[in-house]
């Protein structure tokens, strides 16, 4: 098996799947052509991420990193969440096969984009 237990757990029992209808921010990355596409929805209260949901089209690693980043983000301030790096997501999952590292990039990018979307809307 190419994935560790934690990755498999997040892939087979992903946390926070779905969308948020009245989301405060939405971040979309990737495209179906390259085989990975993620949308992240966030709810924000007093600059804190109170809820995060995701929808992902992609491989096991893409789904697991999406799930992981939602868990990592919930409860954090926007500022803290913006500091979550691609490597943090992979590390939190206990590592990914090298060829799959780009998936963790996508997950962190999608969360950052959702936060940026929220900040833009607020202005």
């Amino acid at each position: 098996m190419m994935y560790n237990e934690k990755v498999m757990d997040h892939f087979t029992n992903p946390r926070n799947v779905g969308d948020i209808e009245d989301a405060d921010g939405v971040g979309e990355v990737g495209n179906p052509t390259c085989g990975d596409m993620m949308t992240i929805y966030i709810k924000v209260k007093d600059d804190i991420l109170t809820n995060i949901k995701f929808k992902t089209f992609g491989c096991g690693a893409a789904i697991a990193t999406s799930s992981m980043v939602t868990e990592m983000g919930i409860g954090k301030t926007l500022e803290e969440a913006l500091k979550i790096t691609r490597d943090d997501v992979a590390d939190e999952l206990g590592g990914l096969p090298p060829i799959k590292l780009h998936c963790s990039n996508l997950a962190a990018d999608a969360l950052h984009k959702a936060i940026e979307d929220h900040m833009r809307k607020k202005q």
């Binding site: 994935y3 498999m8 892939f11 087979t12 992903p14 799947v17 979309e28 179906p32 052509t33 390259c34 085989g35 990975d36 596409m37 993620m38 949308t39 929808k55 992902t56 089209f57 992609g58 491989c59 096991g60 690693a61 893409a62 789904i63 060829i99």
Partner: protein, 384 residues
């Protein structure tokens, strides 16, 4: 629950009968067929009998069979051997754009060494048009190499017609029959090919052994050099136990041919029918008629292949996919690409290749699992 193996296009388990045939050749009849003493003689008896069996299974003469280490080596020997030996007549080779890497990469290698290769494209059902092969022929064409049946989508090419057009022009024809042997009737004289590759491990034989049929009178050069084994065309002490196992597997494939084909076709059609009926936005890749009896290749919109494969694996079901995410190169399958599919369609393709031991109950269990898994993944997909 009992695991279900439906990846016979990748490889098969060795038949117990084959193991029994091989066993004495490891410890008792271990001689080198080149030796003059009785150990060597016994090995030679096994080797000759195996050559006879493999030859007669495809309608060939024993002298026309060269044992190799498998499909890859057979393809290399056929293509490079013909190219090197016949380059004074021309340096042009014709093939298709859906060949196995053993053929495609051998052709690409020859391109770097002064040969020209035309890759004739298949149509959107994965079939070659004989007319377009004909149009690709030039005065300096020396070889046409087109696979008999494709390993991913199972399409069967009109190799007989290609042989007819080549014969008038004195062009050699090679076909990779690794996937078709045991599933499509093969008689080298009825087909009319000059060279034909087969491999043992796709037909319940051991890995690392195969054969190249070379029609008598064919000008071919050795590509590896050493002793005078295999008429000097393929040096190296023969893998007798493997060859004996391969021959036994060929014998079994021949004896069980009608039953196998009927069984596989009925399972295949049941699965294709049930999947297309019960899962929306699912489509068959490759032609339905000109298709291997054991190949089911279906694309599911909005989901990705590796994810499907892993979830199936969790349920003890083994299949394969042409998705980019599952390949080491992160490139989608060149075969699905050749069908003109959009990238997102290629990502959601699954290949199920059935085998002798699969049952109707297993086929139904796999369809049930697919319904559940695709439902789950689509609920997660931003595209659905």
């Amino acid at each position: 629950m009992k695991p279900i193996y439906m990846d016979h296009g990748s490889t098969t388990a060795v038949d117990p009968d084959v193991v029994r045939a091989m066993t004495p050749y490891f410890t008792e009849i271990f001689g080198n067929a080149s030796s003059l003493h009785s150990y060597g003689e016994q090995a030679t008896v096994g080797l000759n009998a195996s050559r006879q069996i493999v030859a007669s299974a495809i309608g060939a003469h024993p002298d026309e069979i060269i044992f190799t280490s498998g499909g890859t080596e057979s393809d290399n020997l056929a293509i490079k051997g013909i190219a090197y030996r016949n380059q004074d007549r021309g340096r042009h080779i014709i093939t298709s754009n859906i060949e196995h890497p053993a053929v495609l990469n051998t052709c690409a290698y020859l391109e770097k060494h002064g040969f020209e290769v035309t890759y004739v494209p298949v149509n959107d059902r994965g079939l070659l048009d004989v007319e377009s092969v004909k149009e690709a022929v030039r005065d300096d064409t020396i070889l046409i190499t087109v696979m008999h049946a494709n390993n991913e989508i199972g399409t069967i090419q009109p190799i007989e017609e290609i042989c007819i057009l080549a014969r008038d022009k004195g062009i050699y024809v090679h076909t990779d029959a690794v996937q078709s042997i045991g599933k499509v009737p093969i008689d080298v004289n009825r087909i009319g090919v000059d060279l034909l590759s087969i491999s043992s491990h796709k037909i319940y034989g051991p890995k690392g052994v195969g054969a190249l049929y070379i029609r008598k009178g064919t000008n071919i050069e050795a590509i590896s050099h050493g002793g005078s084994h295999e008429r000097g065309i393929r040096a190296g002490t023969e893998n007798i136990s493997g060859i004996v196992g391969f021959a036994r597997a060929m014998e079994l494939a021949q004896a069980r041919f009608d039953g196998d084909c009927e069984h596989l076709r009925s399972l295949r059609d049941r699965m294709i029918g049930n999947i297309l009926k019960s899962i929306d936005h699912s489509y068959l890749n490759g032609d339905l008629e000109q298709r291997l009896v054991n190949n089911v290749n279906i694309r599911f919109s909005y989901v990705e292949g590796e994810a499907m494969l892993l979830l199936l694996n969790n349920k003890g079901i083994a299949v394969s996919t042409g998705s980019a995410c599952s390949s080491k190169s992160l490139k989608p399958s060149h075969v699905l690409e050749a069908l003109g599919l959009a990238p997102e369609e290629m990502h959601g393709s699954l290949r199920i290749t059935l085998g002798r031991e699969n049952t109707e109950a297993e086929a139904d269990r796999v369809v049930e699992a697919l319904i559940e898994i695709i439902g789950k993944l689509r609920a997660m997909s931003p595209l659905a």
